[in-house]
Symmetry: C2
């Protein structure tokens, strides 16, 4: 029974890693669509979003099934609840990558991000990629320290978000409202992606320490 | 045991209703801050967001505790998992009301929404209010039909969101990038609030029917 339970938890954990890897590749591709007007990459994001959604449903079913059959307690129960929350966040990260890709595709073949914004989006994408890499690491080997590092990364993301707004709201912004709106929404998508990575990290801290970090 | 379990589920359900009522009042106040430059209303939203976060932590603790002690199965287990998801969505709705309020307060005493956008935000707020009212109703008495109505309301919200963008992107938009960005982000906050209401409704359908609507 115990062995079977551990095997099932491992299977759920592997699914979360698959979701996180897919969410990582999705944002990389979406950024490619945004910064390199790579249409094919953008279209692949839309496909992988559906795959991430399907993985999410599988995780939910497996966790419900596990709770119903095995009635875990203590750290096993925390692990199961953590899995539900993390899966929900990863599903949203897939959605956010999808929003970035759709914004890029809507403007294709024109670039959705004008020259003035490319560096800041490139940096935001790099920070986001570093963060999801840490989420994957933590999912493979729960580690409160790596999870806690995500807060520092999120500060870097917030700084970039502020920088983006300084450019958008600068007196010398040469584009119209539409490009400013796209820029602001794209910034929000990257920033929310990072927030979900932080939350996933916090959930792992909860799993390791039992202290509920919600809110 | 069974009676105790039902009493605890009822207590969790009551907490969800409290969260939903707080999220409803929060968005009403935030809209007041936005459309009537009501500073006091806006500041109250910031306070209630902290209260909603505290309620969320309480729900999570109670559900974990319930799962650990009672090991529910079947519809009882579904109810507990539903509660976790719904609480997470309601917490986000509180955050989104908070974002609306902060956007309004940042511009105070100037109105954050120019005359051209007031009607559409007023309508978005009304649709959102109708939706959270249905979520409260469904939390009190789970009802798949009322929950399903939320999809129609969400279509109305999407139409308003499109209308907002037509105004923002119209050739005769008389304001600069900053007001356009605020308008677009505010629109997104209302629209996401509505999405979370739909998800809460779907979760209740899941609870009633056992069919997982995730994704």
């Amino acid at each position: 029974m115990r062995e079977e339970f551990q095997a099932e938890l491992q299977e759920i954990s592997d699914l979360l890693v698959s979701m996180a890897e897919a969410a990582r590749i999705a944002l990389r591709r979406a950024t490619g669509a945004l910064l390199k007007a790579d249409r094919e990459a953008g279209e692949l994001v839309l496909v992988s979003d559906a795959e991430i959604d399907a993985l999410y449903r599988t995780v939910e079913e497996k966790v419900s099934d596990l709770l119903a059959r095995q009635a875990p307690v203590a750290s096993d129960l925390r692990m199961a609840i953590t899995a539900l929350h993390v899966a929900s966040g990863l599903e949203r990260m897939g959605d956010l990558a999808d929003h970035v890709a759709k914004t890029a595709l809507r403007r294709h073949p024109s670039p959705a991000a004008p020259a003035e914004l490319r560096d800041v989006f490139d940096e935001m994408a790099q920070v986001a990629d570093r963060m999801i890499a840490k989420v994957i690491e933590v999912l493979r080997t729960p580690n409160a320290e790596t999870a806690a590092e995500l807060d520092g990364d999120d500060d870097a993301m917030d700084d970039l978000h502020s920088k983006l707004f300084r450019i958008l709201l600068g007196k010398d912004w040469p584009y119209g409202a539409e490009t400013a709106i796209d820029g602001a929404l794209l910034g929000r998508f990257y920033e929310r992606y990072a927030d979900h990575a932080v939350n996933a990290g916090r959930r792992v801290v909860y799993h390791v320490t039992g202290v509920n970090p919600a809110g």
